[in-house]
């Protein structure tokens, strides 16, 4: 097992704000060395935890996104540690960091410093707002970036304030972008032999998660929401412009996601849905006969009304309340419906689809074993390499120094000698 990126070496200095980027490259076969301070990465203090509140407490955030990397210890605030990173950077193809802007320069480890040592190095920075600019020094967190990047503000549940996803996501999206940006820079290096700086802003990364809403002002659409009828009915199949509460339906054992779509792109799926109801004996013939593709036009003409849609929705609610999640998934596949169960964590973990595609990987042995998402794509050749669980602090210091630096350097006097004493 080698992976698509097996020839490449990565120095990973990131904390929880950038940890995922290196894991993506490691999964694709790169040799990724995670550098931690003697006290351990701050990402080790990020929830969720295994055995929370006990001496054995362990961050599953760390375990998930530092997996597949090797770990060495270096204190970046001490000359020894800085020197070690310089030496590693001299042998690396990529370096990822997610420090607050200014911090790496103060350590003498910024892009200009390392470029002088290794002109072919690709140096990737993952920050909340970008490496420079008026907000680059802002205090940050996932929610703050989510607020600045666009997806927060339009997302309301009625009278309540705008709402984020219950789990932090902003830096994960930015970190996935960082991996992409790094590989684009790599393709430039293939031509020129030269590395460069890749500056990832989590704020800028999130514009996409607003589904274009952030552009509304710039293109002169001051009301980028769909109105009830008829001028701007939501005709997207995903129902992205429809009140999300109108797309959730109770079933016997949970909830169902289904948008009663109208218009040329989505109406056909609604017709197919009512055909299912009719086949199961529901009195919905009028909605089978209604041309859902033409509903926006029919409403404009007045031959279909909001009251008709309300009756259709009532029929949907009644029918789905008698179904199970599994029955709905089966019907969705057989009949090509845009109607699926809303999975919780357990449903995802037990998904027959993910199991059939060999998605999960078990990394580590005994108490270190973790079941994690693995193959984020199916590749027809040898694409991935899953090698090891997330490292303990300094677990691979000796072997990495030997492999990367050979006999060229002494073991550092400070941190690297202590690794066995630091709990994982």
């Amino acid at each position: 097992m080698m992976g698509l990126l097996s020839p490449y070496r990565v120095v990973d200095l990131t904390d929880e704000r950038g940890l995922l980027a290196g894991r993506l490259l490691a999964d694709l076969g790169a040799d990724v060395v995670q550098v931690e301070a003697p006290g351990g990465s701050s990402a080790r203090r990020c929830p969720p935890f295994l055995a929370a509140g006990t001496p054995q407490q362990e961050s599953l955030f760390w375990d998930a996104y530092a997996a597949n990397k090797r770990g060495i210890m270096a204190d970046l605030d001490q000359p020894d540690g800085q020197q070690l990173v310089r030496q590693l950077a001299g042998r690396a193809d990529f370096l990822f960091e997610s420090a607050t802007p200014g911090v790496m320069a103060a350590r003498g480890l910024d892009w200009p410093d390392l470029r002088a040592l290794n002109p072919s190095l690709i140096y990737v920075s993952i920050t909340a707002f970008g490496r420079s600019g008026p907000k680059s020094g802002y205090a940050d967190s996932d929610l703050i970036v989510w607020a600045a990047g666009g997806p927060l503000n339009p997302h309301r549940d009625g009278d309540r304030p705008p709402l984020r996803i219950s789990l932090p996501q902003a830096y994960l999206q930015a970190s996935a972008d960082a991996a992409g940006g790094a590989l684009i820079a790599h393709h430039a290096r293939v031509r020129s032999g030269l590395g460069q700086h890749v500056d990832v802003s989590a704020q800028a990364s999130l514009g996409l998660a607003s589904l274009g809403q952030v552009l509304a002002h710039a293109v002169g659409d001051e009301h980028p929401e769909f109105e009830p009828a008829p001028r701007r009915m939501d005709q997207s199949g995903s129902g992205s412009g429809t009140d999300p509460t109108q797309k959730k339906w109770r079933c016997q054992d949970g909830l169902i996601e289904f948008h009663v779509g109208v218009g040329p792109a989505a109406g056909g799926f609604t017709s197919a849905f009512f055909k299912w109801l009719a086949d199961e004996g529901e009195p919905v013939q009028e909605f089978v006969e209604l041309d859902w593709r033409r509903v926006p036009v029919l409403m404009e003409e007045g031959s279909c009304t909001e009251a008709d849609l309300q009756r259709a929705r009532a029929a949907v609610a009644s029918f789905l309340s008698r179904k199970t999640k599994a029955e709905v998934l089966q019907a969705a596949m057989e009949r090509k419906l845009l109607c699926v169960p809303i999975y919780d964590t357990a449903d995802v973990a037990h998904s027959a689809q993910l199991a059939a595609r060999n998605y999960w990987v078990q990394l580590g042995e005994g108490s270190r074993q973790r079941r994690l998402p693995g193959r984020f794509a199916q590749v027809s050749i040898d694409g991935f390499a899953f090698r090891r669980p997330a490292p303990r602090v300094g677990e691979h210091t000796a072997e990495v120094l030997q492999e990367w630096l050979g006999g060229a350097r002494e073991r550092p006097a400070g941190p690297a000698g202590q690794h066995a004493e630091v709990p994982a």
Partner: protein
């Protein structure tokens, strides 16, 4: 330096969001991307808000525009044999083929990897779909809201006392393309070194679940199921979005987070609540969690008669994370995004000018360039057939008049 991906030839059979933004990123960095669509069955994104000047219409969607800027665009009726033959000629030209149809559709057109690789042994082809091309649920079609439901995201956005709201829009549409791009760029490098192409099958659901990897490990190890918690956080208290003075008749909000006990005390003092700051019983996040409702009410009371920008400024001056809940106007006028030149204005053949988002990362030596607006229907039909494929004028006219190029 030349552009990072200059000379790379990409044939793009994608639609909506998860597929098109892959080719968009490649185009930004120098690839030639030809996007194939048909005006006979207009793709979903072209029907979606926001619209240029607020006017609905298939040439007016800013979502379509930002997902497809920088590409050449042709219209081909792939239901016709001549259209399929044209697509196969384009595939022979291409280094990379990307598609996002429902699994099985490309086989029906004989445009799937197994068909195309016969003439093109080092082809790299990427399919992106909701569930993937294989497995018992592969036939499940859908948009990203379906992906968000089956990857667990629909369930974990919302208030604990209400049904789930789900994420904003088709969430896995934003995640999938990032994993597609990384895999595709790695495969291109592998081919450069070995001469070997490959087929890549990305499932939006699998990309989405990767962004819940810690929670999946948690479930496997100790059975934990994630619950929706509004705007609260597992680590930080307080952590929320609070109402401010309305502006132009619109409700306004500000997000505020205390990442440490010290930040909490500074926040309480800034709020004019030294009693809360000095209350030793509120000295830890766990202690504050026990009375989070009360603390949130106190913060909301303080923000309610302020402008969100003022709250942001005051708290950021103290080093406390705070930001306006940015509207589109705020985003478009954000000085930080302006510093990064994130919004790019482009000439547009119908609208005079339009605005799209720029690349999401800045490369110091080979920066991304958005060369042109997203194509209007069939904008580049003649150029692509005549100049790129080298078809004769007669052949182009024949195809056009036969209704293949629609």
């Amino acid at each position: 330096m030349s552009q990072a991906l200059e000379g790379l030839r990409v044939l793009d059979f994608t639609w909506v969001v998860a597929g098109p933004v892959i080719g968009r990123a490649l185009a930004d960095f120098g690839a030639t991307v030809i996007r194939v669509e048909t005006s006979k069955r207009i793709e979903t994104a072209r029907h979606m808000v926001p619209f240029q000047n607020g006017k609905p219409g298939p040439e007016n969607s800013a979502l379509y525009s930002t997902c497809n800027a920088g590409k050449l665009g042709i219209t081909v009726d792939l239901q016709t044999e001549a259209g399929q033959a044209l697509a196969r000629d384009l595939a022979r030209w291409a280094d990379v083929v990307i598609e996002s149809y429902a699994p099985g559709q490309m086989q029906r057109w004989k445009l799937d990897y197994d068909s195309l690789v016969v003439d093109h042994p080092d082809l790299i082809m990427l399919s992106t779909s909701i569930m993937g091309q294989t497995g018992p649920s592969s036939r499940l079609a859908g948009y990203g809201n379906v992906g968000a439901a089956l990857s667990g995201f629909q369930d974990i956005v919302g208030w604990p006392d209400r049904p789930p709201l789900g994420p904003f829009g088709p969430y896995t549409d934003y995640i999938g393309p990032r994993f597609s791009l990384v895999t595709l760029l790695a495969a291109l490098d592998h081919r450069r070194r070995t001469g070997q192409g490959c087929y890549i099958d990305v499932a939006q659901v699998e990309a989405g679940v990767y962004l819940q990897a810690p929670e999946m490990a948690d479930y496997a190890a100790q059975g934990t199921v994630v619950h929706r918690v509004g705007n609260r956080d597992r680590a930080f208290v307080p952590h929320g979005v609070y109402p401010c003075l309305p502006e132009d008749g619109k409700e306004r909000f500000v997000a505020i987070v205390a990442r440490s006990d010290d930040e909490w005390q500074q926040l309480a003092r800034a709020m004019g609540r030294p009693d809360l700051a000095d209350d030793v019983a509120l000295g830890t996040a766990e202690a504050r969690r026990a009375c989070e409702d009360e603390l949130e009410r106190a913060i909301a009371k303080w923000t309610a008669n302020q402008h969100p920008q003022d709250v942001e400024r005051r708290l950021q001056a103290l080093g406390i994370p705070a930001h306006v809940s940015a509207s589109s106007r705020d985003f478009c006028q954000d000085p930080q995004l302006a510093h990064r030149r994130h919004l790019v204005t482009l000439e547009h053949p119908l609208h005079g000018a339009t605005t799209v988002e720029g690349p999401r990362y800045l490369l110091s030596e080979t920066p991304g360039v958005v060369a042109r607006a997203a194509p209007t229907f069939g904008q580049d039909n003649e150029y692509v057939l005549r100049e790129i494929l080298g078809y004769s004028a007669e052949r182009y006219v024949e195809l056009r008049d036969a209704g293949v190029l629609v």
